[in-house]
């Protein structure tokens, strides 16, 4: 500091300059000194804003999908990339293809919708609103489509498929049908509000859950006409479950609703579950299992809504749907805790924690045994339902 002052004096005493006398040198130096913290502040704020913006980026939670070939799965190995991966016992997974490749110069962005496998085709709907049809063997876009179908609106909901058409619901509340033969698009219904619940197809009817409009709507799959509409007290973002003539809907009003399909969606029963339901309920016989974002696991009668048992761990948030294997209900929480419960009683059998991992994607029950989870970091973890033993099988890459 002293040295700076000395410099100031020297400069000041140094005589006139072209800028108008000795004071100018003083001013310029002093001005520069003032400007540095200001510019530093500007840079810091810019970095802060940029960092905050980065945080808001959607990442996607599409789960792995069984490739119906020996030990192979389709898995979003990283944001915007899907791959066919072969899992071998004990060994590292081998990647057979990935899309897009570097040569494609594509970025699919976030993928929330579960890819749909039909025959030799894999349909992938991206959050950006594009639907790709890939050859499941090669991972290349099919030639029947001129390119990806751009529905022009964001997609979170998993599409439904009826053999000829892919039914895609968007964040603007619209429902479009894509002819898989040629990729042509037609709008079935126009609506409002975000549709995040997977589109459920039952016979000739499509069921749509609306997040913003707080309702369930049944729509004719051929005409798009509204068959019935059932308002709910809360929003719905979870997948539905079908149990006989009941559509079971989890909602943000912290309840499960049993809607009677034969009676125009009239509510047959309602069960308070104590938290939002964001995971698709699981049906096993007459029992429905539901998870909540406040750590609740509930088993109830699917036909009457009568509760059998409830397990509660308020520190856990369940987004990923439960699976039932050999009498053990396996539920994975967002914080990486995986819990095995006795499906008959709700008693905890085992608990495992995946440190520094988060789980939001739905699991896949492997034919070879075990439940496969894809973590938010893109790691694949196999859990043994009997005892919760963890096997990390790599990142698929």
């Amino acid at each position: 500091m002293q040295a700076r002052r000395t410099m100031f004096h020297v400069k000041h005493a140094g005589g006139a300059t072209a800028h108008g006398g000795p004071t100018s040198t003083f001013h310029v130096k002093h001005h520069r000194r003032l400007r540095i913290p200001f510019l530093a502040g500007v840079v810091a704020l810019s970095l802060l804003a940029a960092g905050c913006t980065q945080l808001a980026q959607p990442e996607g939670w599409a789960p792995p999908v069984d490739a119906e070939a020996a030990s192979s799965i389709f898995v979003p190995v990283e944001r915007g990339t899907i791959a066919l991966v072969e899992i071998t016992d004990g060994g590292a997974p081998s990647e057979r293809w990935r899309f897009p490749t570097e040569a494609d110069e594509l970025d699919l962005g976030a993928i929330y919708a579960t890819p749909v496998l039909q025959g030799d085709r894999l349909y992938v709907a991206t959050h950006g609103g594009e639907v790709y049809a890939l050859n499941a063997e090669t991972g290349r876009p099919v030639e029947d489509w001129a390119g990806p179908v751009d529905v022009g609106e964001r997609i979170v909901a998993t599409p439904a498929f009826n053999g000829e058409r892919l039914y895609v619901a968007t964040e603007q509340g619209n429902l479009v049908a894509i002819e898989v033969a040629n990729g042509s698009v037609s709008t079935l219904t126009e609506g409002e509000g975000r549709i995040w619940s997977p589109v459920t197809l039952h016979e000739d009817t499509l069921f749509l859950g609306n997040l913003d409009e707080r309702r369930v709507r049944a729509v004719s799959k051929s005409t798009g006409d509204i068959v019935w509409e059932q308002p709910l007290a809360g929003s719905t973002a979870a997948g539905f479950a079908l149990a006989g003539d009941l559509l079971i809907v989890g909602s943000f009003d912290r309840a499960l609703h049993g809607l009677d399909l034969a009676a125009g969606g009239e509510e047959r029963w309602r069960l308070d579950v104590g938290g939002w339901v964001m995971a698709q309920p699981l049906i096993d016989g007459d029992t429905v299992y539901a998870l909540t974002t406040r750590g609740g696991v509930i088993a109830a009668s699917a036909s009457t809504g009568e509760q059998h048992w409830q397990f509660l761990d308020e520190e856990r948030q369940f987004r990923s749907r439960p699976v039932l294997v050999d009498g053990t209900l396996v539920a994975a929480a967002k914080d990486g805790t995986v819990i095995g419960l006795d499906a008959a009683t709700g008693q905890e059998r085992w608990r495992q924690t995946l440190p520094d991992e988060e789980i939001e994607a739905d699991p896949l029950v492997l034919d070879a045994g075990g439940v496969l989870y894809l973590t938010n970091d893109g790691d694949l973890v196999r859990i043994a339902p009997a005892d919760g033993a963890i096997q990390r099988i790599g990142a698929g890459t």
């Binding site: 003032l34 804003a49 905050c52 913006t53 945080l55 929003s235 943000f252 964001m278 939001e360």
Partner: protein, 320 residues
Amino acid sequence: MPIGFIWQTFLETPLINIMVVLSVITFGSYGLAILLFTLISRAILFPLTLRTLHSMRRVQELQPQLEEIKKKYSDPRRRSEETMKLYRESGVNPLGCLGPQLIQFPVFIALYQVIRITLASTPESLVELSGRLYDVDFIQNAIPLSTTFLFIDLEANGSPLLVAIVFASMWLQQRIQTNRSTAVQNPQQQQMQQMMQWMMPALFAWIVITVPAGLGLYWGASTIIGIILHWIFVGPGDFTWGSLIPNVVRERLGMKPIAPRPQPATARAGANSSTAQPGTTESRVEDEGSGNEREDSGRSRRTRTRSARSSSRSGRRRRH
């Protein structure tokens, strides 16, 4: 205890729930909830704001003594020292106007996350929101919140209307604040203020472009409230709405042109020339830089003295 935990538990999570409650109170309008939150936060900060405004008023009352210092000392360094000494003795902080803005900044940053989470623009943020809401029925049932307000999508980035509002309001705030609080200063301070006059609005306009529009709504509303408070308790200074009309237009309208504001020596030499706005502001000479600037400073000095005297009486006199 990690900072992130403290930040989330004591600032972010309560704010999330407050915003949801306000949204319920305002019939589900998140935009109105943001405006209501702005009013409440400004009301909480009002004692500090009032203290700052009084400090500005005091600076204004010191004008005659500052004029004396200017006349008495030709050496800018000495003059600056004496000015600061006078400020110290009078218990005045010439940069005190930054206080409320600096205190608002953590709220601004927290509000960014709060808006991002409460509006649940991505599925991940909806899951995150579920873990942050208090276990109260009407809070839990309020989700999702309405994301539009006056045709503005509050979760989308870069609403042009809000960018314009934030830029204009911050420019005006800078304009009326810098005028009074630092009436007599050396050229580098003056240059700094001129730079701030444009840089601060530009910076915040840029931030508003990059963040959800809800945050822009908060900042714009907060700035406008700040302007109103300043106008009420200190006055607009030498700012007049008429001074926004460029000379070219004034001539066509038959109005008296405004003399361009003289620039300090360094600015005239080319440094930071972008801060000069001839024809858009009134003559406001703060010319302690060098001797040759004194010649053209007489008129403004008289004007300023007159303004200071009248302002010290009324606190809000305007000149046209």
